[in-house]
């Protein structure tokens, strides 16, 4: 997922502009792109079917497939059929390794563990690809003749036919596998009732292996085909592929393999027609709007019968329970005092700068630890709250000349209001679905920022944002910025700590631990979830607002999914729901790479590895969940 900006319009599957002219062309393009999505989505559906897991690493395998294809084509000069086989086999091996070493050890862990592990794995894989091949785009020639045939009012090329052929062949092979092979029966049986399948003698580890292998092979080939389609590959492909695959899979009904195919074709068509009418930069917006609409109206997908229970009956067990580490108040007070007087000592501006970053991240982590930890809504789109706060504060101060201090508070309030309003339709979702919905909403926010040029200035971004100031005094010197951000974070942390010990905090945790029971006691889920998002939205918005004035320039890519995931890693490192943990985690993840002078391009790799190690060995984090 690394290096992926929230929109990455240049990597979306835009049709070949000059060739696309008729509706038939848009239809063909939609179906071809849909075919590519289907190869990703089918794998996601298989995996979700047997293990109720959304594999966020699927896009990374797609990326790996594209680069293996590049090595095969450009360096080894393999003929096309052999290239496809090489990519499929190599990607399958990667999938098997992920299953065996990344996920199988987590079989008996809490439900959040495998989800987080796939996120960590995707970071690691993407970074490894980036470090091996550099982030610069590469050309991936298809070796097919560049001719187009006239079909009715449109045209079709050999590559279109290849993609359609691979899609169809894969579908037939998969169908035959599931219908006629013994392992295929085991896959279907496990998807329907894991325990009962085990009682028939099915070895579910082998079933998992099989689906990961198949999913990876299909995903890898898909990445290669996309690379050939645009004659370009780069590392930002990964997150986009995961997102599109997840959209298609959820639209078709999580775990429903034929549904995933239909969902993919539908997604391809919706995007293609959307582009035809509104233009390329809207393509992804349609995908995510489709996702949110489906999640809200038909969380089981378009084809699930109404009586069907949601495939994820989870409560409580999503978060690892643990006994939090008690830190005495005096120790916290001493630590806070120490940080407060730090600028009086001869420390370098570089240290202060690093800690300012930590305090800003700390505010975001406070927000996320409340939302994900205390009330159990694991958000993957938290950077959107930063963006809303940052844009609001920047525009308030620039356009309406609101004093910066007030503008930042305005940014916090805007983030609280807008963030809560955006997420509220998804309040009835649970577990993984919350994560998908928040991820999609995060993308939507960034796409709206990109496209709403009259307000946000679109891709140009906002420059000349006034510096931080308080009561008319500009805060320019690093110590003053340091004190300001530290003070704001401490105030937010104290408020949040107070909140957690109150009746409200207990209600939040009751909802997290068992929302069915909580509802039975008369707690209104919507109200409490709203309150949590309002509080959390404010903290994140303030962080974004401060950042905007600090950076003086922001655009739609300033606050991206990478930051959302970094915040999640921080929160898990500190212990979900743990206020002190969120701050400690921020200082650790921002500070340690500086202390060890780790080059920027290795940091994300390290965050991914940290996440993986935590999930495996200390899911309750450093200070324990609360």
């Amino acid at each position: 997922m690394a290096g992926a900006s929230a929109s990455a319009a240049s990597h979306s599957l835009a049709p070949w502009g000059h060739r696309v002219s008729s509706w038939l062309d848009y239809t063909i393009n939609g179906l071809i792109v849909g075919n590519v999505y289907a190869l990703v989505a089918v794998g996601l559906a298989l995996i979700f079917g047997v293990s109720r897991l959304i594999n966020f690493a699927q896009g990374s395998i797609y990326l790996v497939g594209a680069y293996i294809g590049w090595v095969a084509v450009v360096q080894l000069h393999t003929p096309l059929p052999l290239t496809i086989i090489v990519v499929a086999v190599a990607a399958a091996v990667v999938g098997l390794i992920i299953e065996r070493f990344g996920l199988r050890p987590l079989q008996n862990s809490v439900r959040i563990a495998p989800l987080l592990a796939t996120i960590g794995i995707s970071f690691v894989l993407d970074q490894l690809v980036m470090l091996t091949f550099s982030p610069n785009p590469r050309a991936l020639p298809s070796q097919l003749p560049d001719v187009r045939f006239q079909v009715g009012g449109g045209t079709i090329g050999p590559l279109d036919l290849l993609i359609a052929g691979v899609g169809l062949t894969s579908a037939l092979l998969l169908f035959a596998f599931l219908r006629y092979s013994k392992l295929g029966w085991a896959v279907r049986a496990t998807a329907q009732d894991r325990d009962a399948a085990m009682q028939m003698g099915v070895d579910v580890n082998r079933v998992n292996q099989a689906v990961f292998g198949i999913a990876a092979a299909l995903g890898g080939v898909s990445g290669m085909l996309v690379g050939m389609y645009y004659n370009q590959i780069d590392t930002a492909m990964s997150l986009q592929a995961t997102l599109k695959g997840v959209v298609a899979e959820v639209v078709g009904g999580a775990g429903n393999v034929p549904g995933a195919v239909i969902g993919s074709l539908l997604l391809g068509l919706v995007e293609s027609y959307g582009v035809a009418v509104f233009g390329t930069s809207y393509r992804n917006l349609f995908a995510f709007l489709l996702l949110v609409v489906v999640l809200v109206l038909r969380p089981n997908g378009l084809f699930a019968s109404a009586r069907q229970a949601p495939p994820e009956p989870l409560t409580g067990t999503f978060i690892a329970p643990s006994r939090p580490v008690r830190i005495p108040r005096w120790a916290l007070a001493v630590a806070a005092g120490g940080f407060a007087v730090l600028p009086f000592f001869p420390v370098s501006f570089y240290v202060l700068q690093t800690l300012i970053n930590a305090w800003l991240l700390g505010m975001l982590a406070l927000s996320l630890t409340l939302v994900a930890g205390t009330i159990g809504q694991v958000s993957l789109g938290h950077a959107a709250l930063l963006a809303i706060g940052a844009y609001s504060s920047a525009l308030l101060s620039l356009t309406f000349s609101v004093p910066v201090g007030l503008a930042i508070i305005g940014g916090g309030l805007m983030s609280a209001a807008l963030g809560t309003a955006l997420i509220s339709p998804s309040f009835r979702l649970r577990g993984h679905y919350v994560s998908i919905a928040t991820l999609a909403i995060g993308e939507i926010v960034s796409l709206v920022i990109l496209n709403w040029e009259s307000v946000t200035r679109g891709p140009i971004g906002i420059s000349g944002i006034p510096p931080l100031s308080l009561f008319g005094y500009d805060l320019i010197s690093p110590p003053s910025i340091y004190w300001f951000s530290f003070a704001v974070m401490v105030v937010l942390a104290l408020l949040q700590a107070r909140l957690l010990t109150s009746h409200l905090g207990r209600s939040f945790r009751a909802i997290r631990d068992d929302d069915v029971a909580a509802r039975a006691y008369g707690l209104s889920l919507n109200r409490y979830k709203s309150l949590a998002f309002i509080f959390g939205g404010f903290a994140a918005g303030v962080s974004g607002g401060i950042a905007a004035h600090l950076y003086s320039y922001i655009n739609h890519e300033t606050f991206n999914t990478q930051q959302s995931i970094l915040a999640l890693t921080v929160v898990i490192l500190g212990g979900l729901g743990n206020v002190v943990g969120a701050i400690l985690g921020s200082v650790a993840l921002v500070g340690l790479p500086e202390v060890f002078r780790i080059a920027a391009e290795y940091r994300i790799l390290i965050y991914g590895i940290v996440l993986l190690l935590l999930v495996r060995f200390r899911p309750q984090g450093l200070l324990g969940t609360i």
């Binding site: 029966w185 049986a189 329907q192 009732d193 009962a196 009682q199 028939m200 003698g201 099915v202």
Partner: protein
């Protein structure tokens, strides 16, 4: 319960089971003699289903021993246990709802590799459960409860087990089907398959069982030959809501 025929086929000895902090079994000992039907009676939440799960390896006991045919089952996974010759009819049947009846029954033979013999056994199931013949290509989830029970039993038999464990096989069935199921269990048993069944309805179960155990909040409070227990006044005191109803 170990009778003249030697060591029991299945033996649980001194089993203690926990779900987190909560203890479900207290020093549980049960044995099933070869060729016998043994019944475990008990009220709701007494730990009956958990006993089944212990046998099948779905839940591991904290202490105690579980052995089948003289060998311990404790280190084994569920599929390995199934391969040793234990088949199950789970609580609420647990068919593969979206697969056909035929596929469900054949899933029971998952551990076997002798295709021809499996096909013959499928035919045999259709003589044993004649009603299923017309339903073979139907979705299993669309069958009635009684029909589903037949499929679940056929599915269990397809592995040619030495022992079948059943969790409340008569639950939720009409009286007609209850009789039919009990009769089938007897038939299965007469063909040499040992049966361990969990039941709430004592009077029904005692009619076909050789031996029975009564479980109360995780402890065996009574056990012995079914014939003796049927007339035992203590059985009414110990538990047995089902007996008055019948």
């Amino acid at each position: 319960m170990t009778n003249a025929s030697g060591e029991p086929l299945l033996a649980l000895t001194g089993v203690n089971t926990f779900y987190g902090q909560a203890q479900v079994h207290f020093d549980l000992s049960i044995s099933v003699a070869r060729g016998h039907i043994v019944c475990l009676l008990g009220g709701n939440a007494s730990g009956k289903s958990t006993t089944m799960k212990i046998i099948l390896g779905l839940v591991k006991p904290r202490s105690g021993e579980v052995s089948f045919d003289g060998a311990s089952l404790l280190g084994l996974s569920t599929p390995q246990i199934v391969r040793r010759g234990i088949a199950s009819v789970p609580e609420a049947r647990r068919l593969f709802a979206d697969m056909s009846v035929r596929e469900n029954i054949l899933m029971g033979a998952f551990v076997r590799n002798d295709r021809d013999a499996v096909a013959q056994d499928l035919d045999k199931m259709l003589t044993l459960f004649p009603k299923l013949g017309q339903r073979l290509s139907q979705r299993a989830g669309s069958l009635s409860g009684g029909e589903q029970q037949m499929v679940a039993m056929a599915r269990a038999l397809m592995s040619r087990p030495r022992m079948i464990v059943m969790d409340e096989p008569t639950m939720g069935l009409s009286p007609l089907y209850v009789d039919r199921v009990l009769e089938l269990i007897r038939t299965i048993n007469q063909e040499g398959v040992s049966v361990f069944m969990v039941e709430q309805n004592a009077s029904l179960a005692l009619e076909i069982a050789h031996e029975a155990y009564v479980l109360q909040t995780g402890k065996i409070v009574l056990s012995g030959p079914a014939r003796a227990l049927k007339d035992d006044p203590r059985i009414r005191d110990a538990y047995l809501g089902g007996s008055e109803a019948a």
